[in-house]
């Protein structure tokens, strides 16, 4: 009997679903290998069906997206109950993802911004004798494993078709990978970067550039050119997609297994290759990184040690 598999999304953009569809013809092979019992985007099965299953009836649930609302939390818990294995699929589920940048502010901060001079929606309102409600927005975005125990992770925003295919293979293999494994290579992206041999022995940066300041040479190491490329800090598996697009790596595959806080480590490493021993000189160089949080925690703020809104100051003060 083929293993039962479920796909679900929490707070995600749908890119992870597309990433599965991007298996293209291979989708059919996957569909053949497993018995998909729940995949809202493509197939007609209902949450009620899931609720009706025995606990642990589902072999693997792939959940993408972060947890931001009370309902997402409920769904995550339901699938955890019904599944032997839960896989956090994609950067949002693994690390919080780009929507996790919202952790620099609070839900009320978001509402104030979006509804500047308008009526802010209420969670509950009586209308014509009936009560209409909206689900609760948590004050912060959470990576999936802050909400439920997670067995495996598939990194990437979105995961590359190769990583997705390999992950399916790895999970169907016996014995399965170590619990907690991130199902992608455990080296940094430089390992598969076409420009790796163009990196000089001793990179010392006296200035950082933005793409608006200078064109990126399509052949040389992007970091060595002064663009904060996070390839050296970021797990491989993407196939260096952004580098091939001649843009710096922004870290969507997260850290290797040897690093606990992606942004802190990336920052630590980049700062180490800044030139100069005088505060003034160092600061001058660092001015080129105008947005450290957005640079080093673009995909991982909710999974970081500090999570974002750590301090007492007005947030996001520049």
């Amino acid at each position: 009997m083929k293993p039962k598999v479920a796909f679900y999304w929490c707070a995600s953009c749908g890119g992870c679903e597309e990433a599965v569809l991007d298996l293209a013809e291979a989708v059919l092979d996957v569909a053949a290998a497993v018995d998909i019992v729940f995949w809202p985007v493509a197939l007609d099965f209902k949450e009620a069906d899931v609720a009706g299953m025995d606990d642990g009836a589902i072999a693997i649930s792939f959940v993408n997206g972060a947890v931001r609302t009370s309902h997402q939390l409920e769904m995550a818990r339901l699938l955890r109950r019904k599944s032997k294995l839960v896989v956090a699929f994609g950067a949002c589920a693994q690390l919080g993802g780009i929507p996790g940048l919202a952790n620099l502010t609070t839900a009320s901060g978001v509402l104030d911004e979006v509804y500047r001079d308008m009526a802010v929606p209420l969670r509950e309102i009586r209308e014509d004798g009936a009560t209409l409600t909206l689900p609760e927005l948590f004050d912060a975005v959470f990576a999936l494993d802050r909400a439920i125990p997670v067995d495996y992770y598939v990194p990437g925003c979105p995961p590359s078709p190769k990583v997705v295919a390999d992950a399916f293979q790895a999970l169907l293999r016996d014995p399965p990978p170590e619990p907690g494994t991130v199902l992608a290579p455990n080296q940094a992206m430089c390992d598969e970067c076409p420009r790796r041999d163009r990196r000089p022995e001793d990179v010392k940066l006296a200035r950082f550039y933005g793409v608006e300041e200078r064109a990126i040479d399509p052949a040389d190491c992007i970091l060595a050119q002064g663009f904060p490329c996070l390839g050296p800090a970021t797990r491989a598996g993407c196939g260096a997609r952004c580098i091939k697009g001649n843009m710096p790596c922004t870290g969507c595959f997260g850290p290797t297994s040897a690093v606990r806080d992606y942004g802190a480590k990336a920052l630590c490493s980049i700062a180490s290759i800044v030139s100069g021993n005088e505060v003034e000189e160092i600061d001058g160089t660092l001015d080129g990184i105008a947005d450290p949080v957005g640079t080093f925690y673009r995909y991982s703020l909710p999974a970081s040690f500090l999570g974002g809104q750590a301090g007492n100051l007005p947030h996001g003060r520049q």
Binding site: D261, K265, S272, I282, N312, L313, P314, H315
Partner: protein, 148 residues
């Protein structure tokens, strides 16, 4: 009014200078505030930004880094690496709403026992003024993670 807030400081001290200075303060019986606990590293260059953020996440109200004076690093230039990381992480903390006074970098040579007193006492005063740093990681995770 509850008892006065006693800030917690995690101090990462270089084995060759600031840690020795702290020992010297001891042998000289120099008295200072008991709020700082020292983690000894061989060089301020070993201090990973992860350690600093971890300390804040786990409830430190302040973090102190002690290294050798510029030009005096026991390993030639580890302290410069520490300085560069410090300057950048300060910018990050500011974005996260953490006052820069909560992270301090000091060059303290093996001979400057009294400097240890001055710096730690100053820092304790500053942190008492700033008040506790809200715990981010702990509290939030507790919101969600199911108690198995």
């Amino acid at each position: 009014m509850p008892e006065e807030f006693e800030p917690k400081i995690v101090a990462f001290f270089c084995n060759w200078c600031t840690y020795l200075a702290a020992d010297l303060a001891g042998t000289s019986r120099i008295r200072y505030a008991p709020n700082a606990e020292v983690v000894r590293v061989m060089c301020s260059g070993r201090i990973d930004v992860q350690f600093i953020l971890k300390a804040f996440a786990k409830g430190a109200d302040g973090v102190l880094i002690g290294g050798c004076h510029p030009g005096d690093c026991h390993y030639q230039e580890g302290n410069y690496k520490a300085l560069r990381r410090y300057r950048l992480v300060q910018r990050l903390l500011r974005q996260m709403g953490i006052e820069e006074e909560r992270l301090r970098l000091e060059w303290i040579s093996a001979a400057e026992g009294d400097r240890v007193r001055v710096v730690i006492n100053e820092m304790v005063e500053t942190l008492k003024r700033l008040g506790p740093l809200r715990k981010a990681e702990g509290e939030r995770a507790a919101d969600l993670v199911e108690v198995a």
